[in-house]
């Protein structure tokens, strides 16, 4: 193990670790918003099914909620590109 590491170019190791870090950043940032968007849409569907006449208002509010929740995942997406090795 040690002599394998010694033969490897440290630059290559840093590059690989950067790639892993990018994956972890975006993957981690997607967990919370994934759950959150699921909750938002599930509640919106329940509301529309109970009161179909209010579907228009619920849909508008649902898109707003999705937009706010999704922003965090998108920050992670942008951050994954900004991270440099």
């Amino acid at each position: 193990m040690l002599h394998v590491l010694a033969e490897t170019d440290p630059g290559e190791v840093a590059k690989g670790l950067t790639a892993i870090g990018r994956g972890i950043v975006y993957g981690g940032a997607a967990i919370g918003p994934g759950i959150g968007i699921g909750l938002v849409v599930a509640s919106a569907i329940t509301a529309m099914a109970r009161q179909p006449e209010s579907a228009g208002m619920v849909r508008t509010t649902m898109f707003l909620g999705i937009a706010f929740t999704e922003a965090l995942a998108l920050f992670g997406f942008v951050l994954a590109f900004i991270i440099s090795g």
Partner: protein, 257 residues
């Protein structure tokens, strides 16, 4: 910031990300993105000019398109968020919606294939415009101290919570709103662009890899499905940007009581 090495997966050469969104500039820094932006301005102006010339009682063709777009802004956005007294903002919101949608839809137009909003300059400009508008509207409608007092101290909150709520609300109206609004538009369009590019490259490469050609139809079908999905995303992001603008203006006009 962005490393330029060609990423090699399964012997497929992916271009570095900077090659997908950066274009060579001509005189005065005019490149493909700028030309597409001018084309969108001309396109939206031309369509709306043609739609508003004849004023037929029963709309048809371009006039129908223009009138249903205006109707969508009136009923789908302004009445749902600001209320009847927000009709004065209809020209702003209508221009914003159609312009952003025209910029986004270049993503799937053959030979253009580049959403203008995948470069962050234009989303930042639009978000700053929105920032100025809702802050100035709030200061005019509620007065300078009234605006910040209503924004930072929402009624119905137990007073110890103001220690937590007030800084958050202040940071939100000053930094977080324009930041999230611009990054949302930019990141959605960039992600869509990368997705379509990845599947196009995979589809093209599978054609030349002998034994992997069995999964080529699946890749092609997914590319077509994702192109259709990006039409939805383009519309949805224009809609969300416009409706957030309307919500911010509405919040500045009618503070919580």
């Amino acid at each position: 910031m962005i490393h330029d090495a060609v990423i090699n997966v399964l012997a497929i050469d992916f271009p570095p990300i900077s090659h997908l969104i950066e274009w060579p500039s001509g005189p005065l820094g005019i490149n493909k993105v700028v030309v597409l932006m001018w084309l969108s301005v001309i396109l939206v102006f031309g369509l709306m000019y043609a739609g508003s010339r004849k004023k037929a009682l029963v709309p048809a063709g371009v006039q129908n398109l223009a009138e249903s777009a205006v109707d969508f802004i009136h009923n789908g956005i302004i009445l749902e968020t600001i209320g009847p007294d927000g009709m004065g903002y209809a020209p702003l919101l209508f221009t914003m919606f159609t312009f952003i949608f025209a910029l986004n839809i270049w993503e799937i137009v053959p030979f253009a294939q580049m959403p203008v909003n995948a470069r962050i300059a234009l989303p930042i400009l639009l978000a700053l415009l929105v920032w100025f508008i809702y802050n100035i509207v709030g200061i005019i409608k509620q007065g300078f101290f009234g605006y910040f007092k209503n924004a930072m101290f929402p009624p119905g909150v137990p007073w110890p919570l103001y220690i937590l709520v007030s800084p958050i609300e202040l940071v939100q109206i000053i930094i977080v709103r324009p930041l999230s609004q611009s990054v949302r538009l930019f990141a959605n369009m960039l992600a869509g662009h990368l997705l379509l590019t990845s599947f196009a490259i995979i589809t093209a490469s599978l054609w030349s890899l002998s034994f992997l050609i069995v999964i080529w139809p699946a890749s092609l079908a997914l590319l077509i499905a994702l192109t259709a999905f990006e039409v939805l995303v383009s519309f949805l992001q224009a809609f969300i940007f416009t409706i957030l603008t309307a919500v911010y203006i509405g919040g500045s006009m009618h503070p919580d009581h």
